[in-house]
Symmetry: C2
């Protein structure tokens, strides 16, 4: 391999210097804060798994999208984690008897997909999941899952005008499909709806004819449902709307819960949301920013835990990646400025220590810095040979330090408050007390 390629990160992965990493940590911190606030406990699993943990759920088709490998000596086939749900299913299944009902878990870590990198997609990225398993009240669990996504986006500064939670109920959609003439496998018809936006209208009409679907009637029914649910979500529901939704308990119950939680105005029923994955069984949703970019998606998967050998367990969850979310925050100027980021992430120094250049002060520098650090203060120092105190104070200011300490002898220092410019003399023995926030 050429020397140059050797010294580059693999395609679709990222080298992260401090400021770029602080931006990632900002997102991770928001994910964690909101997850905990909503009562989720964190879990984690291996970065790589036995390959067939993934094929059991998604079939062999997924293999081409995986980074899979056999270790030298060839014990077994492994794959880098493309998503966390199969690992989560194993964790839940192994302890199902002892876990609370519901179990609310969050997870945030790296995932890997061997697809061609493009804007919004990388080969290594971060993903955040929240899942509620074993909740008997499905509407409540569904709404709690949507609430945590909405709260995260609101926490990061996004507004209802920026985004919409588009939701649907696959069970309800199947009923309407059947009522509108679908005679074959209704799941196949859902798949057809999933591909609709990417098809030519004539081709889609042709598919409808083949499956027996009277698409005009279907669209009209779903539009009526969406309008009724929209009024319920915003607290304007009528008796007529209740009648319209009576045969769709999934949508009706969820809309009521979302309204009760005060987040109905962020949500809308959208018949085009069916989600590709075969394992979704009920509520499905996508969070769409500016009408086009999906920053999160999820749904109910009531059969998956059984598929992994566990007890029948109602479950719902979502995933959000860091790549699209970062692009959205940048585009909307919601990522803090570098200086704010450093402050908010607790990365600004408490104190920056410099010597006035006398031998006594030079000799006291290392010890003073070490003592301040040991008392818990984020302490930086100058490593420069210069004795120009003005220049060194500028370094302290550039580092964003709260205080500068100028050592003048082995016994005393000048402490400068960098925000106010105020200065005072402090004996070295009292320094850390004087600098505590």
């Amino acid at each position: 391999m050429a020397q140059q390629a050797r010294f580059q990160a693999p395609t679709g992965t990222r080298d992260m210097y401090p400021l770029a990493l602080a931006r990632r940590r900002y997102i991770e911190k928001a994910w964690r804060t909101i997850s905990i606030r909503h009562g989720f406990d964190e879990v984690d699993g291996p970065t790589f798994e036995h390959l067939d943990l993934y094929t059991v759920k998604s079939g062999d088709g997924i293999v081409s999208e995986l980074f899979s490998f056999t270790r030298a000596g060839g014990e077994k086939d492994y794959a880098l984690r493309p998503e966390f749900t199969p690992s989560l299913a194993r964790l839940y299944t192994a302890q199902a008897g002892q876990l609370p009902k519901p179990t609310k878990w969050f997870w945030q870590n790296t995932c890997f997909r061997a697809e061609r990198p493009q804007r919004g997609r990388l080969r290594e990225f971060l993903q955040w999941n929240c899942d509620i398993l074993g909740a008997e009240n499905r509407s409540l669990a569904d709404a709690e899952i949507i609430a945590v996504v909405v709260d995260l986006l609101e926490h990061l500064g996004l507004k209802p005008s920026d985004l919409q939670v588009r939701l649907n109920d696959r069970a309800a959609a199947v009923e309407v499909l059947t009522a509108c003439g679908v005679t074959g496998d209704p799941i196949a018809a859902l798949g057809m709806l999933d591909k609709r936006a990417k098809m030519k209208p004539e081709a889609f009409a042709e598919l409808c004819t083949q499956s027996g679907l009277r698409i005009g009637e279907f669209d009209q029914k779903m539009a009526t449902v969406a309008a009724a649910a929209g009024r319920v979500l915003t607290g304007m529901g009528t008796a007529e709307d209740a009648t319209t939704l009576a045969t769709m308990p999934g949508i009706a119950g969820l809309a009521e819960q979302l309204k009760a939680m005060g987040i109905g105005q962020w949500c809308a029923v959208d018949a085009s949301i069916v989600r590709g994955l075969a394992y979704y069984t009920g509520t499905v949703f996508e969070v769409i920013v500016d009408g086009e970019r999906a920053v999160a998606g999820g749904g109910r998967y009531d059969n998956l835990i059984e598929l992994f050998g566990g007890p029948a367990t109602p479950a719902i969850g979502f995933g959000m990646g860091d790549v699209v979310l970062s692009l959205v925050l940048q585009d909307k100027k919601l990522m803090p400025s570098d200086a704010d980021l450093v402050r908010q992430m607790g990365l600004s120094p408490d104190v920056y220590v410099i010597s006035n250049g006398t031998p006594e002060a030079d000799a006291a520098l290392s010890g003073t810095v070490a003592t301040l650090r040991r008392t818990g203060l984020h302490t930086r120092r100058s490593y420069k040979a210069t004795k120009n105190i003005g220049k060194l104070l500028k370094d302290a200011a550039d580092a964003g330090s709260r205080f500068a300490v100028i050592l003048e002898s082995g016994v005393e220092a000048t402490v400068k408050n960098m925000a106010t410019g105020e200065q005072s003399k402090v004996p070295l023995a009292e320094l850390s007390a004087a600098l505590k926030p």
Copy 2:
């Protein structure tokens, strides 16, 4: 593969349930806190790299210890990261012109080694690195690196009686080896010393004879050096000690700096510490707990950045893994109890909301919980059908919540301080203000 194997984590990896993960997060938080306090900035790189990023430094011999793979379609050979240093060298090299001197970076993330799992060794583990690159004052940089390890261990509750930083200077050791008769490659002689503890005395004596090393003389000289350095480290150095160390500026300068930083009592010169890796050029050290378990190790690698195509750059760093450290903390009863851990990690609820079972209170539950969460309070609720308030209050206590809120109508609630037992009535509209910490 058998169903059972499919549903287990791969050998040497870990499924982490909430409490186990909280213990890992406790260690990660300590690493981060101490790194930042000592003025290190965080960087990160890809989880997998081009395979030859690792072979350039360690030779092809390392390949058998790696999880390496070729993606289906076979673009290139990749390997899961066994350590971060090669990635760090790339990051530094790519930006060397713009980076400050010194550059102080820390990193903490997962590493992977395809070795047989055993106590203290897993195939996937966490590693913490701190590195100082481009520091002209080598003794100062070496001492700062040792200080950050010592501060971490002290922060976690370990004492000088629990552990020792055993250090050596490979350059000084090479000089003494040469003075004691070694005529061939002194690096090979260092390798011999590295293996000494694992060899039979007769076999080692045979090797000494072959290489020309007068081992008795070598041991005596190094013992004299260690004793002199020991006195310098603890502030008892004499003029004679200065003379003994005069030809060993690495050891003398480092001992002075460690003394100045007030951590000399944690350190000792130990001629048996030479570290296996060929790329170390000066100071090397290991942090040994109870005289046997290495929790961290590191050294100076002044030629590595050049090997990766960067400018000549003095550099020193260390690595610490989570597995041995966790064992040490458990053995010494320094890992907080589960309840303390949950509190310290900010995982205890602020408030636990229950309904008194009236329809008005039931109806207010979801909305109240959602509102409290949105104001930033970690809010949990009961999902149970029971209306036994005593049982529900016990759930609130078991969750470690600061407050319980008992909804009694749509307009008012009883707030119970779980620590004092104190109760008061609060209108729902004023709840979040009443509960703020």
